[in-house]
Symmetry: C2
Subunit: 171 residues, 2 copies
C-alpha cells in the first residue's frame, strides 16, 4: 500500500500549523488500533504550550526538534486500563504506527521518538507534563507539513532472507 511504502521519518517542517480536523483524524487513527483483549490502553497529550514543547525536546538527544515542531503529541499507556499488561507495548506500537500512516495520508510528515521503557525519559515526561505514576509516556510523535515535497517517499526495505517456510531452519 502506497502510504505504508512512502512513510518516512520526517523531521523538518514548515511553520504552518496543523488544522484541528487533521489533529482529530490522527487521534482517531490511533484509537482504531487493535489491542490485546481490546484493552485500548492509550491516552494522548497534545502539547501546545511553547515552554512545555521545550521541556519535551529535552527528553532525549533526538527530541530537540520537538521544540519547534508544529504538533507534538505524546502517546501514553494507562496502567489502570491494562488487562494484559504484557501487551501494552505491542498495543501502543500499533496505535503509534496508525498515527504515522494517517499523517502520510493527510499530507503531513511525522517521526516516532521512543520513550518507554527507558526510565529517565519516562520520569522526565511524567514530571514535565504532570502525568501521575499510572500514566506511562510511551512515544513522542512530532508532526508537521514537510519542508521538502518528497519527504515521504518509497524506500524498498524488502529482504527475502527474512522469509522462511514452515520452519525457521529449513528455508
Amino acid at each position: 500500500m502506497k502510504i505504508i511504502n512512502n512513510r518516512r521519518s520526517v523531521r523538518k517542517f514548515q511553520s504552518t500549523p496543523i488544522e484541528p480536523e487533521k489533529i482529530e483524524k490522527l487521534l482517531r487513527a490511533g484509537m482504531q488500533a487493535p489491542s490485546a483483549n481490546n484493552q485500548q490502553p492509550w491516552e494522548f497529550i497534545i502539547v501546545k504550550d511553547k515552554a512545555l514543547k521545550y521541556q519535551v525536546s529535552q527528553t532525549q538527544p533526538y527530541a530537540t526538534m520537538a521544540k519547534d515542531a508544529p504538533l507534538v503529541m505524546i502517546v501514553a499507556g494507562n496502567e489502570d486500563r491494562l488487562m494484559s499488561p504484557e501487551n501494552m507495548q505491542q498495543d501502543l506500537g500499533a496505535c503509534t504506527e496508525n498515527i504515522l500512516l494517517e499523517a502520510v495520508e493527510l499530507g503531513l510528515g511525522a517521526t516516532w521518538l521512543g520513550v518507554f521503557p527507558i526510565e529517565v525519559r519516562v520520569k522526565h515526561l511524567q514530571s514535565a507534563l504532570e502525568m501521575p505514576e499510572n500514566i506511562l509516556p510511551y512515544a513522542i510523535i512530532i508532526v508537521g507539513y514537510p519542508l521538502s515535497e518528497d519527504a515521504n517517499h518509497y524506500t524498498d526495505r524488502y529482504d527475502e532472507s527474512r522469509v522462511h517456510t514452515d520452519t525457521y531452519k529449513h528455508q
Copy 2:
C-alpha cells in the same frame, strides 16, 4: 483513513488460498515498518504444512482457527539484530499492524494472536517450528478471504476523554 477504520479481527475465512503475490505484499508491508535505530528486527515464517498449522493452533486457546486458516504467518524477533532490545516489541507491533492493514487493502481479513512475551507460547512455537533460542516468536497472524462480505467494517472507537492538552491533569 478508510483502511485503518475498517480493519477488524477476522477469524472466519473462505477456503480460497491466498495468491503468492498477495503474500509477498503482506511481507513487504511488514518490512516497511519503522524501527528503533532502523534495526528491523523481524523474521517471518509462512506455515504451509498442515501438521505444523495444527501445532501452531495448539499454542493458545484463541489460536484454534490457525488449523484451517488459508495463511498462517509468524512474526518473530531476531535477537541478533537488536541494537535497542527494549524497543523490539514496539518495532514488531508496528510491523504487525502494517501487515493487518495491508490485508484489508488486499480484500483479505486477518487476526493478530499474541505470543511474546508469554513464555509457554514462545517455547511451544520455538519447538514446533524449529526456531533457535535467539528467534523470538512474537505474533501469529491468520489471514484469508473473509467468509462475510462486511467482515472488515467501521466501528467507531474514538473517545474524547483520552485526549489531553498540554498536561495530563488539566484536560
